[in-house]
């Protein structure tokens, strides 16, 4: 694992998300109302809906396809729904976001 810079936190609207295009699918990067940054695979564990398109509320996002509520911190679906999507470690230094990603990828 290594830290890869993906851009400034201010480029993501509050209570919104942007995506990072990856070779194995998109990663959704979220910014919450309290200015925390989270990153998840952009696939709902339910039917693969793009979580980056959902409504963000506290530390959760609601999938736009069938309203699964996914925790931003660990990717777990809120009970009683079941399922988990991959969550990435995030670091913000001087407003710049980095994700902990495998050594096999780099920023384009």
């Amino acid at each position: 694992m290594r830290w890869i810079d993906i851009g400034p936190a201010s480029d993501i609207p509050k209570l919104g998300a942007r995506i990072v295009r990856g070779p194995k699918g998109d990663i959704a990067v979220f910014r919450t109302a309290d200015d925390e940054i989270f990153a998840l695979d952009d696939r709902c564990p339910h039917k693969g809906g793009p979580l980056s398109q959902g409504i963000v509320h506290d530390h959760h996002v609601t999938c736009p396809l069938h309203n699964f509520v996914i925790s931003l911190s660990d990717g777990e679906a809120r009970a009683p729904d079941k399922g988990c999507t991959r969550a990435y470690q995030v670091r913000v230094v001087n407003g710049l976001i980095s994700l902990a990603l495998p050594e096999t990828v780099a920023a384009k």
Binding site: R18, V20, L65
Partner: protein, 822 residues
């Protein structure tokens, strides 16, 4: 310490359900406002008095009905002085005085002294073995007596008396119920239902002596029997007096607080002394006193709001419904069924099946209901009763229940299922494939009590919601007496206790102009709400403050955020507007070019006479919009909770039957109304003659042109529910037609709850009220029209152009970064 603001002192007299519920809600709203002291005469924490009957019957234990344990008081820094009695309120020095002479000061005082059982002034009433049925102590004594005693007499054939009698029978005693009146539970039942109830209780072994007046309770030290006015004597080892309750107002009365039957309170639950509030069974509000739990909950909510210094909630009284908690007996009653002048009745009686139903109507509204034997529709009738729904439209089918009315939310898409008749394999929720057996299993195994729980655990009724009623029926029949119906006004979502109507009203009254302001004022439980309340609030803001409120894109569902409809694979569908369904060769060429250029996989004609481009990649959206804009087309809002389409036929332009220019009127309507946001989608149609080729009679608003003018229809649906439109008015000219339709839409924008379609709004507020506002009252029609026109100035902006040409919120369509393999 200097910097610490001194807290106000709140003293609560009474440690019962109403008082503690108020405190719980107060702590949610203003956790640090008060130092709280609670006086409770009973030596316990607070328990659910309503469930004493199941405890007596051995179906529940005392622990199971405790609401707040002693730990709870400690955790919330509440001083509980249990077993201590307040004997006086000194309003001059703002203190309460205890039996031991202690004086405790208050800034605010909450009286929740509840009620006392009425003890008949009979000789022998103080003998051992004579008990009331009011608290745990009484229940303990009854259980004790049932261990050795053989025969019990219960005085009182009301709700409480019958539950006591049932419980004692379950404990092995033989029981005689003595009742003064001809009819059991005469406050809840009419003579016929009372008779059916009596018969089925006799079948279970209960004995009755009624009508009968008790003259004396016999015995030396312990009760041995009862003598009646007719001279008969019956022996007994236990006598339970359950003849009713009386508000406990002694303390308040002594302190000079104005009381009648109860302590008189305002709509803010305030007594005549502004520092003193009162809730629960001790209270008299608008001449009414209550002895059931639902009203206490409503009162507690309002009282907590005022104690928390929010001061905007009002209590307007409660309608109550009753269910007898005797296992195996289905009985439901609600509202006023005394009959009388101006009321009408619908009665169904089927003696062989043991079914009796009586509905009482007044002024087109349901005001009372008595159900015996089949109570599946009780909750549904109660809902109509509380909402004051105009039921005249469904009157002829009303008696047969929700399933036969095709009412929204009941009966479901199949329209005829009744929960009880369904097999376990039968599918209840067609959207998510959930069958009845799965729901019952979840209810029993996971101990679910509410429809929201069932939704969360099974997904049943969580998509389109048309099977909600059916799920509710299954819940009610599975839980039996433990089922509590949905509260009066449903909260908007789990983030708040307030209903859609409350929120809308308060936004206007308090001039709340942003979502955070509203959430803050209304004590939202989560700082930024959820996916369900934020879009609703955003709509209410838009509709309340046109031109002032800045649309919050992050509170909109993705479709409205990117002006296209998300598909199952994350691509989008794009629909350009075609005014009145009319297009041109140039537009069609432009659409064909866009489809080719962006390799759009599917091009399809929609039901609303538009062309749908399906499978557009999100990144391509701005470029697709730009090309369509260049050809003169704008967003078709096919994604919007707003005006969607106006479908037309060719009218007098071409059709040999056409009576008016239906195409022209359709285009005019669409050009005037496009861009407006509404509670849910709005689809229009204009047909040029009664042959109705534009299918106007199943639209939200439909116009049927006739030779002499325009028939305006509305509140139709052809989706989850099929419903023909209601006739609104016939007008002579196009201008007037436009004015009426616009005014109607504005009224819907102002009154509709978010996601409530026009036909459901009409059901709720009543056709007559809508007619009054937009047909009869010309001044109001014009005012509504003006408000719509004003808000259109800010709404008629093509979102595609904003975003394609001006590059607004460009970030939505570009990745933050791209990664590659190394």
């Amino acid at each position: 310490m200097l910097d610490k603001v001194k807290k106000q002192k709140l003293v609560v007299i009474g440690n019962g359900m109403a008082g503690m519920r108020t405190i719980e809600l107060l702590l949610e709203r203003a956790p640090d406002l008060y130092d709280i002291t609670v006086f409770g005469a009973e030596p316990h924490g607070n328990y659910n008095r309503i469930l004493l009957s199941p405890v007596l019957a051995g179906e529940k234990t005392v622990d199971q009905i405790m609401l707040n344990t002693l730990d709870w008081y400690e955790a919330n820094n509440i001083t509980l002085r249990k077993g201590e009695k307040v004997t006086m309120i000194d309003r001059r020095s703002l203190e309460v005085v205890t039996g031991a002479g202690d004086r405790v000061p208050y800034d605010k005082l909450l009286i929740a002294t509840g009620s006392d059982p009425i003890v008949l002034p009979l000789p022998g009433k103080d003998l051992t073995g004579v008990v009331g049925f009011r608290d745990i102590y009484d229940v303990d004594r009854m259980i004790e007596a049932a261990k050795s005693g053989k025969h019990a007499i219960v005085i009182g054939g009301g709700l409480l008396g019958l539950e006591a009698a049932n419980g004692l029978m379950k404990r092995g005693m033989s029981v005689t119920v003595v009742h003064l009146m001809e009819t059991l539970m005469e406050r809840q039942l009419d003579a016929i239902a009372g008779g059916l109830l009596k018969a089925s209780l006799i079948e279970r072994g209960m004995q009755f002596k009624m009508p009968a007046q008790t003259q004396a309770i016999l015995g030396e030290t312990h009760v041995t029997g009862v003598r009646f006015a007719d001279g008969e004597e019956i022996s007994a080892d236990l006598v339970v007096m359950a003849v009713g309750i009386r508000p406990n107002i002694e303390l308040a009365k002594k302190a000079g607080i104005y009381c009648e039957r109860g302590i008189v309170v305002s709509d803010a639950m305030q007594t005549y002394d502004g520092r003193i509030y009162a809730v629960g069974e001790c209270v008299q509000h608008r001449r009414q006193t209550y002895g059931l739990v639902a009203p206490l909950w409503d009162q507690a909510k309002v009282c907590a709001n005022h104690l928390a210094l929010k001061a905007f909630a009002t209590y307007k009284g409660s309608s109550v419904s009753t269910k007898l908690k005797v296992t195996g007996i289905d009985l439901f009653s609600a509202g006023d069924f005394s009959g009388g002048k101006d009321t009408e009745e619908i009665v169904l009686q089927d003696a062989a099946r043991g079914i009796y139903k009586r509905l009482i109507l007044k002024d087109k509204k349901l005001i009372g209901a008595v159900l015996y034997g089949d109570t599946a529709d009780g909750a549904w009738y109660f809902q109509h009763l509380r909402d004051g729904t105009d039921v005249s439209q469904m009157r002829e089918r009303l008696m047969f229940g929700a399933a036969h009315v095709g009412d929204g939310g009941k009966g479901g898409h199949s329209g005829q299922n009744a929960a009880a008749a369904m097999s376990d394999e039968a599918e209840v929720c067609g959207c998510n494939g959930v069958c009845k057996g799965t729901i019952i299993k979840a209810i029993t195994e996971k101990k679910l009590f509410t429809i929201d729980d069932v939704r969360a655990h099974t997904k049943a009724s969580s998509s389109c919601g048309s099977c909600s009623g059916l799920v509710e029926q299954i819940l009610a029949s599975t839980l039996g007496g433990n089922y509590s119906e949905a509260p009066k006004s449903k909260p908007m979502c789990a983030c708040t206790d307030y209903s859609h109507d409350d929120v809308k009203r308060i936004i206007l009254e308090q001039k709340l102009k942003t979502i955070p302001e509203a959430m803050d004022f209304l004590e939202w439980k989560k700082p930024d709400g959820c996916h369900s309340c934020r879009p609703a609030l955003n709509y209410y803001m838009l509709a309340s403050w046109p031109g002032e409120y800045k649309d919050d894109m992050q509170s909109r569902f993705i479709n409205e955020r990117v002006h296209a409809n998300i598909q199952k694979d994350g691509t989008y569908s794009v629909v350009p507007r075609m005014w009145g369904g009319v297009t041109t060769p140039d537009e069609l060429r432009a659409i064909a070019d866009v489809a080719d250029k962006f390799k759009i996989p599917t091009v399809k004609v929609t039901g609303g006479q538009r062309i749908d481009l399906l499978g557009v990649k999100k990144d391509d959206l701005p470029a697709v919009w730009a090309d369509l804009n260049d050809a003169g087309m704008v967003s078709g809002h096919a994604y919007a909770k707003g005006l969607r389409t106006v479908k037309t036929c060719v009218g007098t332009d071409w059709c040999r039957f056409g009576t008016q220019d239906s195409t022209g009127l359709g285009i005019r309507l669409e050009k005037f109304m496009w861009g407006s946001w509404t509670p849910a989608k709005v689809k229009l149609a204009v047909s040029g003659c009664p042959r109705n080729c534009a299918e106007a009679t199943c639209k939200d608003v439909g116009v049927i042109c006739v030779d002499s003018g325009y028939e305006i229809q509305f509140a139709g649906a052809a989706g989850l529910h099929i419903k023909g439109t209601e006739f609104l008015v016939k007008v002579a000219g196009e201008d007037e037609a436009l004015e009426v339709i616009v005014a109607l839409t504005q009224l819907y924008r102002e009154q509709g709850r978010y996601l409530e379609r026009m036909y459901k709004w009409c059901d709720r507020v009543g056709l007559d009220n809508i007619k009054k506002a937009v047909v009869e009252d010309i001044a109001q029609r014009k005012a509504l029209f003006a408000r719509f026109a004003y808000s259109q100035q800010f709404a008629q902006i093509d979102p595609w152009k904003e975003r394609a040409a001006k590059g607004q919120e460009r970030h939505e369509f570009t990745p933050l970064a791209e990664l590659e393999l190394v």
